[in-house]
C-alpha cells in the first residue's frame, strides 16, 4: 500500500520552467512518476518536454486532474505558491524550497488547519514510494521497491545514505519521506509514524532526526503508546556546538534544549532501537527488521 504517494499520484510541478524544476521534473518522469502538468505564471500554453505548462494551479487542476504538487518556487514566493495549491484543492503539496521565512510558513500552516491538503516540507527532498512514484529530488536508483520498511527523515543526503545502507542489505522501502529541515513544517514524525502503523505493507520504520526542537522526543512517546512495529532511530549532531544553526534552519540547540543526546535518551526510554554510529546503521537494521 505505502503512504501518501503511489501509482495513482497525478503530479503538477510549480516552478517547472526554472532550472531546478526542469531538471527534477525530467528525473521524476524518467523514474515513472505520472507528471500531468506544470505551473509557471506567464508561461501558460508552453510545454516543458511533453508536459503542458499553465499560468495557474486552478487551471492546471481543472484541465488535468492533478492531485499532487511539487514546488520549486524561490523563497520569496514559495508560501504564495503553497496557498494557491491549497485553494485549488490539491491533496498533497511537497515543498523542496529552502530558505522560506519562518513567519510565512507559520501563516501557511495556520491557514491549512482543517483543510484536506497535506503539506510535506519545506526544505525537504520530497517523498518516494519506490517503484511507483517519485515526488522529489532523491536519487531513485538508491531505493529498493517492495518494502517492508518505511523511512522518515528531517534530512536530504543523510536520508539517501540511510536508504543506501538498507538497500545494500536487501531491505526494501515502502515509502521514504523527507519531512524537511526547517523549524515549521507541514508533516511531522508523528503524522508519518501514525500512517505507517496503519499501512499493511510497512513492517518497520527508520527515523532519521537531528538536533533542534522536540519532534523526536514527541514521536518517541507516541511510538511507545501507539506503534507496534520495530523502530530504528538515528540522530545527527551529537558533536554540534550549541547555539549554532547547523545548515538547516531547524537544526539549532537553543537554551539547552534540542540536543542530540537528549533525543537519543528519550528514544531509548521509549523502546526505539537507537543507532549511535551511522557507519553501522545497516547492521543494526538487518538485526532489528
Amino acid at each position: 500500500m505505502s503512504i501518501f504517494v503511489d501509482k495513482n499520484t497525478r503530479l503538477l510541478v510549480q516552478g517547472i520552467t526554472g532550472k531546478e524544476g526542469m531538471f527534477h521534473t525530467r528525473q521524476c518522469i524518467a523514474y515513472g512518476t505520472n507528471v500531468v502538468a506544470g505551473v509557471t505564471p506567464g508561461k501558460g500554453g508552453k510545454k516543458m518536454d511533453n508536459v503542458s505548462v499553465f499560468n495557474t494551479v486552478r487551471e492546471a487542476v481543472d484541465k488535468t486532474g492533478a492531485n499532487c504538487s511539487l514546488i520549486f518556487v524561490p523563497p520569496p514566493f514559495a508560501a504564495d505558491a503553497v496557498l494557491e495549491s491549497v485553494d485549488a484543492g490539491i491533496e498533497l503539496i511537497v515543498v523542496i524550497t529552502e530558505g522560506i521565512p519562518v513567519m510565512d510558513m507559520m501563516k501557511v500552516k495556520n491557514y491549512m488547519e482543517g483543510k484536506k491538503t497535506r503539506l510535506i516540507g519545506p526544505n525537504c527532498p520530497g517523498i518516494i514510494t519506490p517503484g511507483q512514484s517519485k515526488v522529489g529530488i532523491m536519487p531513485g536508483q538508491t531505493h529498493k521497491p517492495g518494502g517492508p520498511i518505511g523511512v522518515v527523515s528531517r534530512s536530504g543526503t543523510l536520508t539517501y545514505e540511510v536508504v543506501h545502507q538498507l538497500t545494500q542489505r536487501g531491505i526494501g522501502q515502502t515509502t521514504c519521506i523527507g519531512i524537511g529541515g526547517d523549524p515549521v513544517i507541514g508533516t511531522n514524525f508523528i503524522d508519518c509514524l501514525d500512517t505507517f502503523e496503519k499501512d499493511d505493507e510497512t513492517e518497520g520504520v527508520v527515523i532519521v532526526g537531528e538536533i533542534g526542537g522536540t519532534a523526536e522526543e514527541e514521536v518517541s512517546e507516541f511510538i511507545a503508546k501507539n506503534v507496534t512495529m520495530p523502530v530504528v532511530g538515528f540522530i545527527a549532531g551529537l558533536t554540534a556546538p550549541p547555539g549554532r544553526r547547523m545548515g538547516h534552519a531547524g537544526a539549532i540547540v537553543s537554551g539547552g534544549s534540542g540536543t542530540a543526546q537528549e533525543k537519543i535518551t528519550v528514544m531509548k526510554e521509549n523502546g526505539i532501537n537507537v543507532c549511535e554510529n551511522l557507519g553501522t546503521l545497516g547492521e543494526l537494521c538487518a538485526s532489528v527488521f
Partner: protein, 386 residues
C-alpha cells in the same frame, strides 16, 4: 542574525518602546560626550557584544562621575570579555553603551519567539526578570506566563490582559504595559524576528516601564526583505573563516579539531562529524557544500578548510545519487592540485560510476585515499591524524 543591544534599542525607539536615555560610544572621549548630556548619576557603562552574561563577566559597570565614565569606558573598550556565552576565548569589546541609571523597583522578563511545534507566536513573561530565563524555565516553569498567538489574526487585547494580569502589575501601569506589548509584537512581526527579548523589563520607583536590556535576533531566511537590517551586521562578531565561506555560499562553522571535512547536505555533514568523533578523532569544522556537488565547490571547500591551520587530514563525503562520481573525482583531483594540498585526503563518494571515480582518484599522484563507506572513511581519516 544577531545585533547589539544599542542597535536593538534604536529599533525599540522607532516603535515607541521605552528605553533609558543614552548612546553608543566607540572611545572614552565619545563616552564622555554622551555622559555629559545625561546630567545625572549613576551612569551605566555597558560592553556591547553579541553574547549574554556581560554583567557577571565584568562588562557592565556603574559610574558616579564623568571621570569614572571615561576610565570605565577606557577599561571596557578593548577588553576581552569572557562570559558563559562567549566560550573561554571571550570576545573583544569595541564599543560601549552609556545610559542613565534607573531607580529599579521591579524587574520583569518579556520575550517573543515563534513556537515551531504549534506554528504560533509565543509571548513569554515572568516576574523573575534580570535572571537567567533558562534556569527559571527549568526550576519554576509555572512562574512563566505564555500567550500563543495565531499570526493570521495577530495580538488581541485579551492576550495582553492575560499577560498583564498574570504579571500582577499595578493597575496604574497596565495601560502602558499593554501599549508597549502591542508595539513589541508589531516590531517582531514587521521585522521577521526570531527573538525579541527584554530582560529585565524594569518598573522604576517612579512607576515607569523601561526596557533596560534589549535583544533582537532576525530570521536569516527573511533578511532578503530587510535590507536595512543587514546594515546592522557586525563582522567583528563573526568568525573570519565563516565570513569567507559565506562569500562562496558555503555553510561553514569552525570547530576545534584537526579533521577537516566537506559534505553535501547539512544532516549528512553533522552525521559525518559525529562519525569522525566516534572513530577517535575531532572534526575541525562543519562544512555543507550544498546540493550541487561540483569541482568548483570542492575547490572552494578545500581553500576554506585549509585556512584552518589545525587541519591535519581531510574527509570528503559526497552522496550524489545522480551525481557522476568520475566527474566529481576529476574535479577533486583538479581542486587538490590548485589548492596545493599537503595533507592526506580521504574521499567517500556514492552515485553513478563509482568504480571509475575511485580509479581516477587512486591513479592521481596525490595523496587521495578512497573509502568504501562511512565507517571506512572515518576510520581511515582518524588513523591519518593520530
Amino acid at each position: 542574525m544577531k545585533i547589539h543591544e544599542y542597535q536593538a534599542k534604536v529599533l525599540f525607539k522607532q516603535y515607541g518602546i521605552p528605553i533609558p536615555t543614552g548612546g553608543v560610544a566607540f572611545s572614552s572621549g565619545e563616552a564622555k560626550k554622551v555622559a555629559e548630556k545625561l546630567g545625572r548619576f549613576p551612569i551605566a557603562v555597558k560592553a556591547q557584544i553579541h553574547a549574554g552574561g556581560r554583567g557577571k563577566g565584568g562588562g557592565v559597570k556603574l559610574a558616579k562621575s564623568i571621570a569614572e565614565v571615561e576610565s570605565l569606558a577606557n577599561k571596557i573598550i578593548g577588553m576581552t570579555l569572557i562570559t558563559h556565552q562567549t566560550g573561554p576565548e571571550g570576545r573583544l569589546v569595541k564599543k560601549v553603551l552609556i545610559e542613565e541609571g534607573l531607580n529599579i523597583e521591579k524587574e520583569l522578563y518579556l520575550s517573543i519567539i515563534p513556537d515551531r511545534a504549534t506554528a504560533k507566536i509565543v509571548i513569554m513573561a515572568s516576574e523573575a526578570g534580570g535572571m537567567d530565563i533558562e534556569s527559571v524555565a527549568k526550576e519554576t516553569s509555572e512562574k512563566i506566563i505564555k500567550a500563543y498567538i495565531n499570526p493570521l489574526i495577530g495580538i488581541q487585547p485579551f492576550h495582553c490582559r492575560e499577560i498583564a494580569f498574570g504579571l500582577k502589575l499595578n493597575p496604574s501601569i497596565i495601560k502602558n504595559f499593554i501599549s508597549m506589548l502591542n508595539s513589541l509584537y508589531k516590531l517582531f512581526v514587521e521585522y521577521d524576528c526570531s527573538l525579541v527579548e527584554i530582560n529585565p523589563l524594569v518598573i522604576t520607583v517612579e512607576e515607569i516601564l523601561i526596557a533596560l536590556d534589549a535583544k533582537i535576533n532576525f530570521d536569516d531566511n527573511a533578511l532578503f526583505r530587510h535590507k536595512d537590517i543587514l546594515e546592522y551586521r557586525d563582522i567583528d562578531e563573526e568568525d573570519p573563516l565563516e565570513i569567507e565561506a559565506s562569500k562562496f555560499n558555503l555553510n561553514y562553522i569552525n570547530l576545534d579539531g584537526n579533521v577537516g571535512n566537506m559534505v553535501n547536505g547539512a544532516g549528512l555533514a553533522m552525521a559525518t562529524m559525529d562519525t569522525i568523533k566516534l572513530a577517535g578523532a575531532d572534526p575541525a569544522n562543519f562544512l555543507d557544500v550544498g546540493g550541487g556537488a561540483s569541482a568548483e565547490m570542492v575547490e572552494n571547500g578545500f581553500r576554506i578548510i585549509l585556512n584552518d591551520k589545525n587541519v591535519k587530514g581531510i574527509l570528503i563525503n559526497i552522496f550524489g545519487g545522480i551525481l557522476r562520481c568520475d566527474v566529481l573525482a576529476k574535479g577533486v583531483v583538479e581542486a587538490a592540485k590548485k589548492a596545493d594540498i599537503k595533507v592526506p585526503v580521504v574521499i567517500r563518494m556514492e552515485g553513478t560510476n563509482v568504480e571509475e571515480g575511485r580509479k581516477i582518484l587512486s591513479e592521481s599522484e596525490l595523496n587521495l585515499i578512497t573509502a568504501l563507506d562511512m565507517k571506512d572513511a572515518a576510520q581511515k581519516v582518524a588513523q591519518i591524524v593520530k
